[in-house]
């Protein structure tokens, strides 16, 4: 092992510091996005316009020293626009099809307002997110590692949008809610963005560092009773499970898949390392539970009609699972 925990913590702190130079507040959002990157997952950020979602992703791209590309999703965006396409080239009288890489061929891809694209285009992301490869004209192209998709969506303007299907939502490691900043943070944002100089993030870590950090993450041990707790927590998100909380039984149609459990374990491991620990604690699980579970819980009609928040259901579930530790 080449990377120590201390180095891991140092790198993570450095990234957070650099991002913090640009992004005011949103510490938990930054932490979750970073955790997701270090665990090798993709992030879906949801928040109203103007909260700095795009800015956050762009700043992360700067701090991580990764190849960054941004795709603005629109209803007329086609899969070839993001994946790439073969064009006819004429060089020296020799005509041939050559593949032109789309914006997906980057380390950090910002899929802005992903729910505005058609499902066809959204689905074009599926292979890239899951397999880290794209297939065009029966030819598969591997994407460069590390590869992360950071998607944003606006929960308010739903007209003319295409909500992501459950299968695609499940591909996202975390779903991070971006909330309004408080007064102090707002003043700080105004100061930073309306002054003479616009702050920018410096390069904190390289892509190779990220790969090493990801490798270290996988080695973090996790005790059997913590794993059992995670498994019970996952199963308890299903209304038919004996440990399901009252809210789950009442408002959840379908619970979390095993992929959610994987995300919970990996997210917990990264959180443990970032806390300077070599083992996963229950606190680590709780720290990432909402980000992992909130987009994987499918509410039933009653839940949707009553405006039940997935976060409330998860919080109640976690509280009810204290005895399962």
């Amino acid at each position: 092992m080449t990377l120590s925990t201390e180095k891991f913590v140092e790198y993570a702190n450095r990234v957070e510091t650099e991002v913090g130079r640009v992004i005011v507040g949103q510490g938990e959002v930054v932490r979750h996005v970073l955790v997701s990157i270090l665990a090798g997952g993709h992030v879906l950020l949801e928040g109203v316009p103007g909260l700095g979602k795009t800015m956050l992703i762009r700043t992360l791209g700067q701090a991580l020293d990764l190849k960054f590309s941004r795709i603005q999703f629109t209803p007329d965006l086609m899969p070839a626009d993001i994946v790439g396409t073969e064009i006819l080239s004429d060089e020296g009288g020799k005509r041939e099809f050559r593949f032109r890489h789309g914006p997906l061929f980057a380390n950090l891809v910002l899929a802005d307002e992903i729910n505005r694209a058609t499902p066809k285009t959204q689905s074009a992301l599926l292979e890239a997110m899951q397999e880290a490869s794209v297939t065009v004209a029966q030819k598969t192209y591997q994407l460069e590692q590390p590869f992360f998709v950071m998607a944003t969506q606006n929960p308010l303007e739903m007209e003319g949008t295409y909500p992501l299907p459950e299968a695609q939502l499940d591909r996202f490691f975390f779903k991070v809610n971006v909330d309004l900043p408080n007064v102090g943070e707002m003043v700080e944002i105004l100061d930073r963005t309306t002054g003479k100089e616009t702050p920018a993030a410096n390069k904190a870590v390289t892509g190779a560092d990220i790969v090493e950090m990801r490798a270290l993450t996988r080695t973090v041990p996790i005790a059997s009773h913590v794993k059992e707790y995670i498994a019970k927590l996952m199963l308890a998100t299903h209304p038919e499970d004996e440990n399901a909380s009252p809210l789950v039984k009442k408002f959840v149609r379908y619970g979390v898949s095993p992929r959610g459990g994987q995300a919970l374990v990996l997210g917990s491991k990264v959180t443990a390392l970032m806390a300077g620990r070599y083992n996963v604690a229950f606190e680590d699980v709780h720290a990432v539970a909402k980000a992992v579970l909130r987009h994987r819980l499918l509410l039933n009609f009653d839940g949707l009609a009553e405006g039940v928040k997935a976060d409330d259901v998860i919080e109640e579930l976690v509280n009810s699972m204290q005895n399962a530790k």
Binding site: M1, T5, L216, T219, V220, P221, I222, A223, S224, H225, V226, A275, R277, Y278, N279, V280, A281, F282, E283, K325
Partner: protein, 527 residues
């Protein structure tokens, strides 16, 4: 570099502390449980009137002194799995699963660098822990509050439960009295079964009601049930004591006395035995009498006496009288063989009569003892000693529920001659224990023994022959005796009076404290 042994050593120290903490906790729980158990068992015992005050105290002390240490010891030595303990300590010491993960990983024997780092981290974090500070010894407040609550209830029971303790005391006395009666009955049964004077049928007839009584006493060991059983059994035994047996005995005794009084009589020995009530001996004397050795005068005298005996016994025992008469006639006709044969038959009849008398006596004696036992049980239960027999006994035997008074408050209808107040409430003591308000005060009274039978049927009339009715003059019948001598022989009079004395003693008509005096008095009169 830290080793696993360092971690396990630290963990063992924590486990010892945890054991101590558990012991303290369970000591308090044991105390609460002990007091609760005492309250439950004591309350139940008092409710059933089975627990005396001293026993109640002993129960509390035994529970309070044994259960808490027992609980504490069990809690201390209770097996604690190290891994589970590690998880517990991770939680209470906020170690974020460091120790449990380290233990688990070491047991799985991972040879990865991060595992060693994790172990170092766990050891380092565990060194910061001070169990006495982070997990202090505490008595569980809820259990202590519960123990206090139980103590208050026990105290209330101790100081306010005098009535219950008194009832339990009475119940215990009654149980002991019933047990004593059972022993007595068993002895009587044994005596009956070993008696050589009784036939098998007589033994069975006598023992059967006693065995039934013994079973009933075991099945229903209450005061009411015991008294009812004893009185009922006493009545059954009395029924066995037939009037005929008494008459036979009286006739034989009288006849024996008159024979014994005649000097140089061939039947003098027989008469003496009969007068003493030794019927078997008398029969033996009669059967073994050798007629061939007698002179004609003696034979003549013998024939006369046999005829006299036959005449005396003709009313009560005609068969015996017939045999005696046959013997007399055979002697007169000179047929000594027939006379000897008739005398043997008469002896055999005499033995049977003796057995009948013995059985009757034993029945009477047993009945008297049972009556006496019933009275003792009633007295043990806090009731009055048997008095105004008819009312009391009838009430008991009818299970009328008038139990504790034990003084004839039932609607009995005693028929004892000396109990003319049968059935009347006023027939018992002046102030009833169970009286309600306005019954004439509740001052303590002294029990006055009024000789009577406990059974509702009352006792037999003590038919003292020389007792006259009201206004009659006794002892002025014509007599030929001179110089103040009695007309009736002393032995005969003594025998009759002694018989009445024995009957009175057996029927419980003589107070217990005076029984010995009466016996000694009559013994001193014995000729």
């Amino acid at each position: 570099m830290n080793t696993l042994s360092q971690l396990t050593q630290t963990l063992e120290g924590w486990i010892r502390w945890l054991r101590l903490r558990r012991a303290v906790t369970w000591f308090a729980r044991g105390l609460a449980a002990a007091l609760g158990l005492s309250l439950l068992a004591g309350g139940l015992g008092l409710y059933q009137s089975k627990l005396l005050k001293a026993e109640f105290l002993t129960l509390i002390l035994v529970c309070a002194l044994t259960l808490p240490p027992l609980f504490a010891f069990a809690a201390y030595v209770w097996r604690i799995h190290p891994l589970r303990a590690a998880r517990y300590f991770d939680r209470v010491f906020h170690l974020e699963e460091r120790v449990s993960t380290a233990l688990e990983l070491q047991s799985e024997n991972h040879a990865v660098e991060i595992i060693q780092r994790q172990l170092d981290d766990a050891v380092s974090a565990s060194r910061q822990i001070r169990p006495r500070r982070d997990l202090p010894l505490r008595f569980p407040k809820l259990d202590l509050a519960l123990a206090l609550f139980f103590t208050l209830l026990l105290g209330a029971l101790w100081f306010r439960g005098e009535t219950l303790f008194a009832a339990a005391s009475r119940q215990r006395t009654v149980e002991e009295a019933i047990a004593a009666e059972q022993t007595k009955i068993e002895e009587i049964i044994k005596e009956i079964n070993t008696s050589e004077s009784l036939t098998a049928e007589q033994k069975e007839a006598l023992a059967k009601p006693l065995e039934d009584a013994l079973k009933e006493l075991k099945d229903n060991p209450t005061m009411e049930g015991a008294v009812s059983t004893l009185v009922g059994t006493s009545e059954k035994l009395k029924a066995l004591d037939s009037q005929q047996a008494a008459q036979i005995q009286q006739a034989l005794t009288q006849t024996g006395s008159s024979l014994a009084a005649q000097e140089e009589s061939p039947l003098e020995a027989v008469g003496k035995d009969l007068a003493k009530g030794n019927f078997a001996g008398a029969a033996s004397e009669l059967a073994n009498m050798d007629l061939s050795q007698m002179t004609p005068e003696q034979l003549q005298k013998l024939a006369e006496q046999l005829e006299s005996m036959a005449n005396s016994l003709a009313a009560t025992n005609p068969q015996l009288a017939g045999q005696l008469m046959d013997a007399a006639q055979a002697i007169r006709s000179g047929d000594m063989a027939a006379a000897q044969q008739a005398m043997s038959s008469a002896a055999s009849q005499m033995v049977q009569a003796g057995q009948q008398v013995t059985a009757a006596q034993m029945a009477t004696q047993a009945a008297g003892q049972l009556q006496q036992g019933a009275g003792q049980i009633v007295a043990a239960g806090g009731g009055q000693t048997p008095s105004q027999g008819g009312a009391m006994a009838q009430g008991q035997s009818q299970q009328s529920g008038q139990s504790n008074g034990g003084s004839g408050s039932g609607s009995g209808s005693g028929s004892a001659p000396q109990s003319n107040q049968a059935g009347s409430e006023a027939s018992s003591s002046p102030i009833e224990q169970n009286n309600g308000a306005g019954d004439g005060g509740e001052s303590a009274y002294q029990q006055i023994y009024a000789p009577s039978l406990l059974g509702g049927a009352g006792g037999d009339m003590l038919g003292v022959p020389t007792s006259g009715g009201d206004g009659e003059v006794i002892g002025t019948s014509p007599t030929t005796a001179e110089d103040g001598e009695s007309l009736v022989p002393y032995t005969e009079v003594y025998s009759q009076y002694n018989q009445f004395n024995r009957q009175a003693l057996e029927n419980g008509e003589v107070p217990v404290q005076f029984m010995d005096v009466v016996r000694e008095y009559f013994s001193s009169l014995q000729p």
